[in-house]
Symmetry: C2
Subunit: 220 residues, 2 copies
Amino acid sequence: MAKQEISPSVIRRLPRYYRFLGELSARGVVRISSKELSQQMGLTASQIRQDLNCFGGFGQQGYGYNVSALRSQIGQILGVNEARRAILIGLGNLGRAIASHVNYPDCGCELIGLFDSNPFVAGRDLNGMPIHHTETLAGFCHQEHPELAILCVPEQAAPALANQLAGLGVRAFWNFSHGDLRLNDPALLVENVHLADSLLTLTYGLGHDITGEPADNPLR
Amino acid sequence: MAKQEISPSVIRRLPRYYRFLGELSARGVVRISSKELSQQMGLTASQIRQDLNCFGGFGQQGYGYNVSALRSQIGQILGVNEARRAILIGLGNLGRAIASHVNYPDCGCELIGLFDSNPFVAGRDLNGMPIHHTETLAGFCHQEHPELAILCVPEQAAPALANQLAGLGVRAFWNFSHGDLRLNDPALLVENVHLADSLLTLTYGLGHDITGEPADNPLR
DNA sequence: TAGATTGTTAATCGATTAACAATC
DNA sequence: TAGATTGTTAATCGATTAACAATC
């Protein structure tokens, strides 16, 4: 789409911009300058202007940015208006929470199927959505063409499952199973979520008493 | 502790090293070179040597690194042998999953209390652990001195709750509520987890068809 | 017009990679 | 000893910040 390559650091900041602008918008804020926004988000004004300019001039000199226009443009770039078909596999503790708690439409996704390999779980339902047996995955994918799979299965099961799904046309994987999922095909997208890694940075911080100016504190 | 300041990028990679070394160790691998490890982790050998050297010479020229020794040294640095007292507030879908799914002892933590403000939830239990009412937080903290709080409460409730807890001695916050938690005191640690942000990077990727060499693909 | 604030270029900073001497 | 691989310095790269001219 955009020919000029966008750096990964910028892309990873977009959801956060989108979130903050959404809250400002909800609070009825019409315009904001890079300076004000930088203070609220804990970034520099320079960085905000630099980031937003990757996509073209969203602001107006002497005025700032129109909050709702900027928000919807970032939303457009992220793809929140899409409805990427997603399936979730593995309805243990975490799988059920991820299925219920995440607002899929807000993320440009649509959760169209739930799967579990346990025959005591398959056949039941979650919030009215039926849970299918993983044996029916191939048939389901041939019919419904999901492009994103959310993996909440045990670590050992994840690689084979991901490869099977890739063969069935799934192009993106949101992986919650322990252990990093690494796939060979560079066209496939993988986002490994490791909650424990995040908790460990706090454990580290508690043991090393990082104190000082906010700017000096790498973990804030 | 370490006088020489460790960069945040290195700190954030430590949990991942720890995880990979744990798996190697479990598979009985005794020694590994930075080159081999780099291939498995998708980093450069140079970076691994650079990272590990922040903490002193863990390796041995001509040999490589002893897997289990390296693992336990990184574990030591992270603080996995501690038992940081943690409480979790908010036992909705996500809170229950975070309470049950995360292996706290492996992360140097001990979950010592669960709290919810809903009187229909408080009084019940989760996996045998009683759920207290949030009104009893102050008394509990005075007695038990938790240093870490896991916030799974609604966005609006988070800031006031965090400030109350900070006043009660809590020094670190693992925040799952929507919206970033930003506290004034620079001595407090905050780790904001936004699952939706992670999903949005996949939505972005699906819309922009990032393809190319693995090394060229910023989102892998 | 004067004031504000962007868009954009240049300077700085930090993080990653390459190279190689030290040494097991 | 010869081979391997680290520890560490120097070179490169990318990301952030500062500065300021353009312009609303």
